[in-house]
Symmetry: C2
Subunit: 139 residues, 2 copies
DNA sequence: TTTCATGTAACTATCATTGTTACAAATAGG
DNA sequence: CCTATTTGTAACAATGATAGTTACATGAAA
């Protein structure tokens, strides 16, 4: 995982939301959960809203809620919703024309390995849900 | 793979070295192979020397050579020699005391997934050797 | 209509990586 | 011994990605 902390932030606040799935949380509340800034929360959860995992409302009694039951949202769903990848695509993916034959074979071998790693990662985190995270809090 | 390009650079120049395993290459030659700077090459191959994959000599007729036969050096060896990881450890690995129970369970789940991904990645690239890369050049 | 919260743009701050310059140290060869 | 060459490494600048911050328009509820 690159050095992004979006996934950690998102899962942390979603874990809190999962404890009280019907109560709206403001970005300010959640920012203090994750020790960050409200705008960072809105940006991050905004992506998850597009992915259909949360809903948001404006104005008084607005805020954020889970779109589905916590049991039905896996860590992997969140990971995919944030469009995270284990690796960042080679920045010259299309630009670098690969002058050298070595680069071709190389790219293929590495790429294949990364794809397998991605699959292994996602299936490993598929088994944990937001409800599992929330359960840790209630003990 | 984070956004480091060390691995690509290293494998590219090692591929060239594998074509003529007994001939020393200077960092300047290799810098032009990989379109980078001689110092970057020395830094990168320096790590691989510590890992026992290459040797270096100073002064006239100095330069770099593979320490073993190209067939016996896999892409995975190089990856490990560079101490690369699919993920960078959470920068607060020891610092952040993890205030919240959610963070604990979370870290465990993610960490487990990353370890599996790492294993999958390495075993996928274990099968390609420097000789395989060099072979691409000779056709 | 007032209050509160999101949505978003714009900018700054940090940090990791890469590139560059400079130079000491070592080695081969005359 | 002297010189040319090459590594080894420090120090610093350039670049780019990510996160944090400020500011404000927009929308909704009471």
């Amino acid at each position: 995982m690159k050095r992004s902390s979006k996934l950690s932030i998102a899962l942390h606040v979603l874990g809190h939301m999962a404890v009280k799935p019907d109560e709206p949380f403001t970005s300010e509340q959640m920012a203090s959960f994750a020790a960050t800034n409200p705008v960072v929360i809105r940006r991050t959860l905004g992506q998850l809203r597009e992915a259909g995992l949360v809903t948001s409302g404006r104005g008084k009694s607005g805020g954020w809620k889970l779109a589905r039951a916590p049991e039905s949202i896996s860590i992997a769903d969140v990971y995919r919703g944030l469009d995270e990848r284990l690796y960042v695509g080679n920045k010259g993916g299309d630009e670098n024309p690969a002058h050298c034959a070595i680069e071709i074979g190389l790219a293929g071998a590495i790429q294949g390995g990364l794809e397998r790693a991605e699959v292994a990662f996602q299936s490993a985190i598929e088994g944990t849900s937001l409800a599992d995270l929330a359960a840790a809090l209630q003990r």
